[in-house]
Amino acid sequence: MKKAILPRALAAIALGSASLFAMTAAQAKEITIWCWDPNFNVAIMKEAGAIYAKTHPDVTFNVVDFAKADVEAKLQTGLVSGVTDSLPDIVLIEDYGAQKYLQSFPGSFEPMTGTVDYSKFAPYKVALATVEGETYSMPFDSGVTGLYYRKDYIEAAGFTPADMQNLTWDRYIEIGKTVLEKTGHHMLGLDPNDAGMIRIMMQSGGEWYFTEDGDLNISGNAALKAALETEAKILQSGIAKPAAGWSNWVGTFTSGDVASVITGVWITGTVKATLDQENKWGVAPIPTLDIPGAVAASNLGGSSWYVLSSSDVKSEAVDFLNEIYGKDVDFYQKILTGQGAVGSLMEARNGPAYAVADPFFGGEKIWQNFADWLAMVPSLNYGIFTNEVDAAVASQLPPLGKGGSVDDALAAIEAQARSAIQ
């Protein structure tokens, strides 16, 4: 008797657990997401997941955060090795790298052209994730740029906020010299290892490292040349405080050291975190380059969400992105207020949060301004080799600061870039 019971009991347990597994597999659909920055992207994605889960209780979210370079390294490893089950369902990719991934790993990302209404988004964000008519991204945060400045410092140097509007770069440097002379504060923090400022200026001039067709565009690139000349002037004028690396650069303004910051809108949260500087900041459009067609708006960074084709919950992942990021205007108000994230869904800027006058910035309607500038950002093809050329540009910046010739720098960038993009 006893002998017969045991196998049967085991079988019952085995069956029970098997069906249990089957049930959990059918019920819980977990969407795994990789992104960087716990205070920004991660927090925003968790918020989005919470909203979606309210109407879709069968979907759960697993947001994994790594450093940005680490997300890129892991994504690239998974794609190159073809080990697709190592990949997440959704991944955040910086806009500069979008074409590289889409073109060199065809079939790895899920097109969303049929689901998402892309006419509702800022056109430049859609263009950068489109390959041969298919768009692959859920456009996310914009890197629209602005000139953040310390009203108290420039007033101490004899200027008014009106003087900070419609600047040229030469005028900006002039003001910087006066500010340094009268207040002892540098005009801006600048990391000589980072070509970010060059990219801001170049894009405001309507050009990039590559032409629309993806060919290298260095020696004949008027915007790049003007950008290098301007950067050289800034470095040589002494108005820039050298910063080493990202966090040190952030420290130049959070510590109250420098009088202005020119960067993407995503820095707003960081600026506002310095509570002791309330009411001291203003925001103006960035200075314009001295070339025909240059505008006072540009972009730095910004990223978008992509669904991996290998995902076994890709329809849920696409639906989730479309429902929240593609339609939910309230969500965009929430992340604007909470994290200072400016999305690229154009109708979101008609929401209440964008109309709020921000007391931190002395009651300026900065969000409305950024939304307006966003529409002016020149749309470009970032190409597939931005990282490579960026490294070439960055290595020419220190010689420029020491008085090197811009033409030599351009030639060196061209040579290094040519060899790197084989």
């Binding site: 390294a73 190159v80 040190n248 910046l397």
Partner: protein
């Protein structure tokens, strides 16, 4: 040399017994290394003859090798790595040897405490120490303010924004972390040296520096060779420090003007940061292999036993 085969020549049967045991003892390690090292090495050798972008790769015997010779970034990486090697390895090893000799002296008080203190850096977590160094060496960080206060410098040193000083910083960082580690090897070797020879030399009137160069150094030769070879391998593969101290997340350069771009960082960039081209990255990694092999050979030759 002692005879280590006292029983091995006993009989053919016993010989076989020892041979079987020999293979059994080394088998687990050999298997593991074959699977997790040798196979990947061969795989990457095969990959080094592939060229293309991302998933679109094709075989080409010479493309990557030819590219090596027209790659200015590779030249720079090779140059930087050699600078680190030529300056850092000797400085660190001489420092370690000096410290070890001083700590070998029984009359020095608190030897244990000092030895522990100097060894501690190599126990520290790599990422943690990189964060610490970064925060100490920024433009108006602790190091510059201290040096300014002491009147040793008149303006802050641009540790991380000037190509020359950023190389100095990397050298300081590696030296800080690994000097104690090498010192322990020397210290251990020194304590095995027969002190009576030194004593005899001292009585004969040989000065301290003479004893150091003509007695200590020759007797330490095997350890010096060992530490030189391991430090050479470590320096030529230098990666972690540069990535964590010098590379900013936003920019593409490793230090100002890529002044700290090493071969390993370049391989990393080729594999993970730039357009994924693992084939070329694999080819570049064989440049390191050849460099290490040549240098090790040179060192073996220079420090060979002359008997």
């Amino acid at each position: 040399m002692r005879t280590r085969h006292s029983m091995d020549k006993a009989s053919p049967r016993l010989n076989r017994y020892f041979d079987v045991n020999g293979w059994l003892f080394v088998a687990p390690a050999v298997l593991l290394i074959a699977v997790f090292m040798v196979y990947p090495i061969l795989y990457s050798l095969w990959m080094s003859f592939q060229t293309g972008r991302g998933m679109k790769m094709h075989f080409d015997l010479t493309a990557n090798i030819l590219r090596l010779f027209s790659d200015p970034m590779l030249g720079l990486a090779l140059y930087n790595t050699m600078i680190f090697f030529i300056v850092q390895v000797p400085v660190m090893l001489i420092l370690a040897l000096l410290l070890a000799t001083m700590l070998d002296d029984k009359r020095v008080r608190f030897r244990g405490l000092i030895r522990t203190a100097i060894f501690l850096p190599c126990v520290s977590s790599l990422v943690a120490y990189s964060v610490l160094f970064k925060s100490m060496f920024v433009q108006d960080g602790l190091v510059n303010t201290t040096l300014l206060d002491l009147g040793l410098i008149s303006s802050p040193i641009p540790w991380m924004t000037d190509p020359f000083w950023s190389r100095v910083l990397i050298i300081i960082a590696i030296t800080w972390r690994w000097t104690g580690y090498n010192m322990i090897f020397y210290l251990a070797a020194l304590q095995n040296i027969d002190k009576s020879i030194h004593e005899a030399a001292r009585i004969d009137g040989v000065p301290a520096y003479g004893r150091f160069f003509f007695l200590t150094v020759p007797m330490l030769k095997p350890v010096i060779l060992f530490t030189t070879v391991t430090s050479t391998i470590g320096t030529l593969q230098l990666f972690d420090e540069v990535r964590n101290i010098m590379t900013s997340d936003a920019g593409g350069a490793a230090g100002p003007s890529n002044s700290a771009l090493t071969l390993s960082v370049y391989i990393y960039n080729l594999t993970f940061k730039f357009m994924p081209n693992f084939g070329y990255a694999a080819t570049v990694s064989y440049v390191i292999v050849i460099a290490v092999a040549l240098l090790s050979l040179l060192q073996f030759y220079a420090l060979r036993e002359r008997t």
